[in-house]
């Protein structure tokens, strides 16, 4: 039985003048302006560049919070507000304007982006200290924040798309920030191009939406969603899935995220954990009315999500790079969010998005702090026993680890359970619940491996190595860690009912569900929790088992890892080599593309140009034939004259004869 809470009203009101919502267009503009300023005169600001950037993002954070409170004050059904700023494109019957849409979904995303962004800006002061392009880093961070805010506040597919591509640009700039190393530059290009492939899906979807509804603005398109022909709706849904897969690194297009670790760690934390990668999830949630009309497509989204989650989790178990492990973990957790939004449990998806934002950013920053202390060492096998040396990082990472492992009462448990519970009812989704549970176990395993190898266990690093002076990071780095740790721990309360932790899912009372209701269309409905207590128990048990397995393997002495690897043999290699996905793409797309390009280039040079020059040579050839007639001998000329005479005589005579005859 599916119960829908507050139905999707599709009513979009106007903000009253002067309110924070009305001035909401400043939220993205201020960081954009500050980015421009930093780019132009950043060098002269030196250290103060960071402060300018932090001020800008701080303003956006405060403004977002005020807007959030104002939105809360509004009555529940009037919470979708559009404030137009200026017309942008008006061509023939196609018309799009720059305007801001603030509704519960956008407000929640605003808070995540701005506050996590602020924390990471602060964190970057310490992390990026001494970098020769210090000011440019903060300029790019602000540019990213501005783009993400444009994406979140976009009121139409097109304005969202503008943010979508600008976010791709800023991630290109940030991944390739240390472009001196060719590998990092290639990673940046790879990210941009793979995003671009997703964007093509987005554009075609926009064409379909426009030709079906005559407009691209959400306010007009979403209420008309049920009227769109189902064939078109399916196409739009799938194409948007391609777009989301490109941006949120799902199965076919996830290859760029692990390479994106080439960027500085704060970038990985902000962009590749908390904000940008969640854009795909936000998009699917935002367009839920369209997905509601074709649940089948939602199921495909969910299956893509769970498949990605499983694949990424398997790969993460054997990686020997603390950032790569986190990267694959992000891909995996994004898979979870896709399950949520795919199965119509958008609230669960967004909830996991928020909690993931907290604990994944925390883990990345912790990894950054560890690398900062260990001269950018990323191999966990060269660390260990950092518990005593870096207490704050250890404590905060502990909370982060518990949250992501999905152990109660931390935030990860609540959000992951909600998603898995949502997978119980919809037809054909039970399989997803099973795989989801396995992935939960795997997640617990590799995250515990990550945590144990770095912080617990024997010291596996030499003291005297140059630059290796494990010590606690400066307060500017540890303060964000602590705040994020609080978020990871308490995040669960966002959607937990105050009544009792066990009955923690009561749609009416839990804060997030009721708050997000007006802007999403949950088509499979949120089933009450009670009948699923056993399911939740199983998942938690599997998670605990994962932790235990990691403990057994990595903390107990005398475990011969080398022998273990032989026994695992093929599986180990398969997972370690990332299922050879990169090599597959390399062989097919790159080599194929390059081959085709070469073929066309030679075709162009040989055939097309050949034809042109051929004509030239042809005419020249004709000339030489003509030349040969001039033999130079007077008698051959005489012969020609004679032949002419005979011809003329014949013609003349013929004329006379049949004239007379």
């Amino acid at each position: 039985m599916t119960t829908t809470i507050a139905t999707y009203t599709g009513v979009y009101g106007m903000p009253e003048a002067g309110s924070a919502i009305d001035l909401a267009w400043l939220i993205p503009v201020v960081p954009a302006v500050s980015a421009a300023v930093l780019l132009l005169i950043g060098k002269r600001l030196g250290r103060y560049a960071a402060h300018v950037a932090i001020l800008a993002i701080g303003f956006s954070a405060v403004a977002s919070t005020i807007a959030f409170t104002e939105l809360l004050a509004l009555p529940e059904e009037a919470r979708s507000v559009i404030s137009p700023v200026a017309t942008w494109l008006e061509v023939g019957d196609f018309e799009v304007a720059w305007s801001i849409l603030i509704d519960p979904l956008a407000a929640v995303m605003l808070l995540l982006v701005t506050w996590v962004g602020l924390l990471i800006h602060v964190y970057s002061i310490g992390y990026m200290e001494g970098d020769e392009r210090y000011s440019r880093f903060f300029a790019y961070l602000n540019l990213f924040a501005a783009s993400m805010l444009v994406l979140v506040l976009g009121d139409s597919f097109l304005t969202l798309f503008v943010g979508w591509e600008l976010v791709g640009l800023s991630s290109y700039l940030l991944i390739g920030f240390w472009f001196e190393k060719r590998a990092y530059a290639t990673a940046a290009k790879k990210a941009f191009v793979v995003n671009r492939i997703g964007d093509v899906g987005f554009m075609i979807a926009m064409f379909l939406v426009f030709s079906a509804t005559g407009s691209l603005a959400f306010a007009e398109v979403l209420p008309m969603a049920p009227e769109i022909a189902s064939g078109t709706a399916v196409a739009i849904g799938l194409l948007l899935l391609v777009a989301a897969a490109g941006k949120s690194a799902q199965i076919p297009l996830f290859v760029w995220l692990p390479d994106a670790m080439a960027g500085p760690t704060p970038v990985s934390a902000l962009i590749h954990a908390a904000t940008m990668v969640t854009a795909g999830v936000y998009l699917v949630a935002r367009v839920s009315p369209i997905y509601a009309t074709v649940p089948g497509v939602g199921l495909t989204v969910a299956w893509i999500g769970v498949a990605t989650a499983l694949l990424a989790a398997l790969i993460a178990c054997t990686q020997n790079d603390i950032k790569k492990i986190l990267a694959y973990s992000t891909v995996s957790q994004l898979g979870y969010m896709f399950i949520g939004v795919g199965l119509g449990a958008q609230v669960a998806g967004v909830f996991h998005l928020l909690t993931h934002g907290f604990f994944k950013a925390l883990l990345f920053l912790a990894a950054g702090s560890v690398m900062h202390a260990m001269a950018d060492e990323t191999n966990p096998w060269k660390m260990g026993g950092l518990r005593k040396v870096m207490p704050i990082t250890f404590a905060t990472s502990l909370l982060g680890w518990l949250a992501i492992a999905g152990l109660p009462p931390f935030s990860g448990f609540f959000s992951k359970e909600e998603i898995l519970v949502a997978a119980l009812d919809p037809p054909g989704a039970q399989g997803i619940w099973v795989i989801g549970t396995i992935v939960a176990g795997l997640t617990a395993f590799y995250m515990s491996r990550w945590f144990f190898l770095i912080f617990l266990g024997p010291k596996r690093y030499e003291q005297e190595l140059p630059g290796v002076h494990p010590h606690e990071s400066p307060p500017s780095m540890t303060l964000p860690l602590v705040l994020l740790a609080v978020g990871s721990a308490a995040g669960g309360l966002l959607n937990a009912t105050p009544a009792s932790l066990l009955r923690f899912w009561d749609p009416e009372t839990s804060f997030l569900s009721s708050f997000l209701a007006p802007s999403v269309v949950p088509y499979y409905g949120d089933t009450p929790f009670i009948p699923h207590v056993p399911a939740v128990a199983i998942v938690t048990a599997v998670a605990v088992a994962g932790v235990a397995a990691a403990w057994a393997l990595y903390l107990r002495e005398g475990v011969d890892h080398v022998a273990l690897r032989e026994r695992l043999g093929g599986f180990y290699q398969l997972s370690y080599q990332r299922f050879y996905v990169d090599e597959l793409y390399e062989a097919t797309l790159e080599r194929g593309g390059r081959g085709l390009a070469n073929a066309f280039t030679t075709f162009d040079r040989v055939v097309v140009d050949g034809a042109v020059n051929g004509i030239g040579r042809g005419v020249a050839g004709l000339a030489t034939v003509g030349r040969r007639v001039q033999t130079g001998y007077v008698r051959s000329y005489a012969l020609a004259v004679a032949a002419g005479t005979v011809l003329l005589a014949a013609i003349f005579l013929g004329g006379l004869l049949n004239g007379q005859g």
């Binding site: 001998y633 008698r635 005979v646 004869l657």
Partner: protein, 245 residues
């Protein structure tokens, strides 16, 4: 029967016919032999015979003035000039027929035959001379009032020369004057061309020695023809680049 055949039986009786047949054959024979004889001098002599034959034909055609003119101008002057040049250049030697241009001979002969075919068809055409008095069978040429086709009788009434002279100095006086100018120009031209160049070097690319003693033997200019190109007279190959091109 075509008019042509009709005319032959009718005319066979008269003396003119026999003259025509004999002289015609002589003319053709001499023409053919002129073309075929290897030795240029023999050819020239054959030409003379041809001219005489034609002169006789003029006479039979009541063109006595022309007949005489023919003998004086053509046979007398032009052929003699030919012989003179032949002797001067000493090229009377029999020349090989094989020209350098492939297929020239056969095409030439074919073309000749084709042309003859066309002309003959034209000449034999029935309409030629239709309706004029002379083109009828002999017996119809004389009717009641007297001979219709009186040929040149009237024109030559007081002699062919007087008739021709009268005509020249009345209707054709302008062409007459122009041709006289032409003759003068031709003469001057021949003299200029014939004159010896001051510096034969830059003109001739044949070695001075190869040029026969054309020059006046009194001036001994040193024909310092430095670029002693190989003698051009030798059968140069088809596409050889001539001397100082």
């Amino acid at each position: 029967m075509t008019p042509l055949l009709a005319q032959t039986e009718a005319a066979s009786g008269s003396a003119e016919f026999w003259v025509f047949i004999v002289i015609g054959a002589v003319a053709l024979g001499s023409a053919l032999s002129m073309v075929l004889l290897r030795n240029a001098v023999h050819a020239a002599l054959m030409l003379v015979v041809n001219f005489f034959a034609i002169a006789v034909l003029y006479a039979t055609l009541d063109a006595q003035f022309l007949a005489v003119a023919q003998i004086i101008v053509y046979a007398g002057a032009i052929v003699v000039l030919f012989l003179f040049v032949l002797m001067l250049l000493g090229v009377a030697g029999d020349q090989a027929f094989t020209g350098r241009i492939a297929g020239q001979k056969t095409t030439a002969v074919l073309l000749g035959l084709a042309l003859f075919g066309v002309l003959a068809a034209g000449v034999a055409a029935p309409f030629l001379g239709e309706g004029t008095a002379c083109n009828v069978p002999v017996e119809q040429r004389v009717d009641a009032e007297g001979p219709l086709c009186e040929g040149l009788a009237v024109a030559n009434a007081d002699g062919n020369v007087r008739g021709v002279g009268f005509l020249i100095f009345t209707d054709y006086v302008w062409p007459f004057e122009v041709t006289s100018v032409l003759l003068v120009v031709a003469a001057i031209g021949a003299i200029v061309l014939g004159k010896r160049r001051e510096d034969p070097g830059e003109l001739t690319d044949a070695p001075a020695s190869a040029v026969p003693a054309l020059r006046d033997d009194d001036d001994d200019e040193a024909a310092s023809d430095e670029d002693a190109a190989e003698p051009a007279a030798a059968g140069a190959s088809e596409d050889d680049e001539e001397g100082t091109r």
